[in-house]
Amino acid sequence: MKPLIRSFALFVKQIFSDSMLATICIATVLAACFIRFGIPLIEIVLCSYFEREAILADYYLLFDLLLALVTPYMICFASAMMMLTEYDENMASYLAVTPVGKRGYILSRLVFPAGIAFAVSIVLMRWFSLTEWPLGMIPLICLLTCLLSVAVALLLFSFSHNRVEGVAMGKLSGLLMLGLPAPFFLPSDVQYLFSPLPSFWFAKLCMERNVIFLLPALLSALLWIGLLSKKFIRKIA
């Protein structure tokens, strides 16, 4: 356990010294405040300007989903960037053969940060969400967004050979989030084109409030993680 905690402490120390930790904290709070207070204000202005009853109000749930995603996504992105730096400097392979091991490396760089993001995300959703969430739904959606963020970090790290490709992949990984707005803007069956993306099922689950969508949401996220983990482990071997 001690090497694991030390490895995680190294991660925290690094993102603290890069000012990334402070940036993530400030950015998440700012994003949450913007969603909670800014969006309704913009809605009032837009409605009075266009003389309509609702413009953004129909999409408040989408903003809530973004709120649930923002913390784990940012933390896992920072983690992936750090892993890429460690990989470029051969640190990842060295850490994998120390008592930390491959499992410990994954835990300290992905699982622990995602766990912290999960807790922060729940707090933010409790205080800053725009819509009413049933009991139990907040932890569930936060867990799902954490899983998705871990998948993004794995994708970013596994499919890039160096920092340059990693940054390009980081940009591309944003496409994994396209599933979130799909059910809101594509009412027909065309939306199912986005079904391979876990984010699509997250949005369906929250929109329909039907537990049946939990299964594809969880399975698709775990499938992405499972497939990418194999590549990830081969890479740090």
């Binding site: 960037m81 730096t85 470029d88 920092r163 390009a168």
Partner: protein, 227 residues
């Protein structure tokens, strides 16, 4: 001749590491998104997309490029080669600006928002050079990607916020001296496009020269010894 060789090397590098493939996907995505939006929003949306992505790609990628080159000791080789810092800066800026302009033009033409091709190309090209120069200034002094991401946030806010405010209708005359606003004005072929072109040239040249200064300073202290 050296600049040409550097430029070709940079283009090859960007091709090898997937920049062209990445932006092919994003171009298709952006054009599809434009057609999913109401026609009345299309022009503003297209300009916003071009301004925040292809034009700003240098600010996003420069950290990774420079850190990679530092890791591969490319900068050490550059430091002792006849290549001058300005040639290196020009090559980096123009290679990124070329791809940014091609992508910007494709999105602009795809969305049917290019009113004046000359101003449009000038806006995207100079804008991309400016963003890349800022990225280069930051990149030469950082050690990790996370540091780069954090360090570019103030520059992004400084360039983006007034420009986006201008795009959405807040247009006091004095704001035309802002570089981001100049890019928007050129892309939209606005009333001040000609003045914006001159102002943006000045901003771009100044930032390129400052990037050159920062790079030269960094090259002098490579390897731990200040020359």
């Amino acid at each position: 001749m050296r600049t040409k060789a550097l430029l070709l090397g940079d283009i090859r590098f960007q091709f090898k590491y997937g920049f062209y493939f990445l932006y092919l996907i994003f171009t298709i995505l952006y054009i599809s998104l434009l057609y999913a939006l109401p026609a009345a929003w299309r022009e503003q949306a297209a300009v916003l997309m071009i301004f925040t992505d292809p034009a700003a790609m240098g600010l996003y990628f420069m950290g990774a490029i420079v850190l990679f080159e530092k890791g591969e000791r490319v900068l050490d080789s550059i430091a002792i080669s006849p290549v001058k810092p300005l040639e290196y800066v020009v090559s980096k800026l123009s290679s990124i600006a070329l791809i940014a302009t091609a992508v910007g033009l494709l999105i602009g033409l795809g969305g049917g928002v290019v009113a004046n091709p000359f101003f449009f190309v000038a806006g995207v090209f100079l804008g991309a050079c400016l963003f890349s120069a800022v990225g280069l200034m930051v990149a030469v002094n950082i050690a990790t990607l996370n540091q780069f991401i954090v360090a570019t946030i103030p520059a992004e806010l400084f360039i983006n916020i007034p420009a986006i405010a201008w795009l959405f209708g807040w247009k006091p005359g004095w704001l035309i001296f802002h570089p981001g606003v100049c890019i928007i004005e050129l892309c939209q072929n606005g009333a001040y496009a000609l003045s914006a072109a001159f102002i943006l040239v000045v901003w771009t040249v100044m930032s390129a020269l400052f990037a050159r200064f920062m790079l030269a300073k960094s090259l002098r202290s490579l390897g731990g010894e200040k020359l």
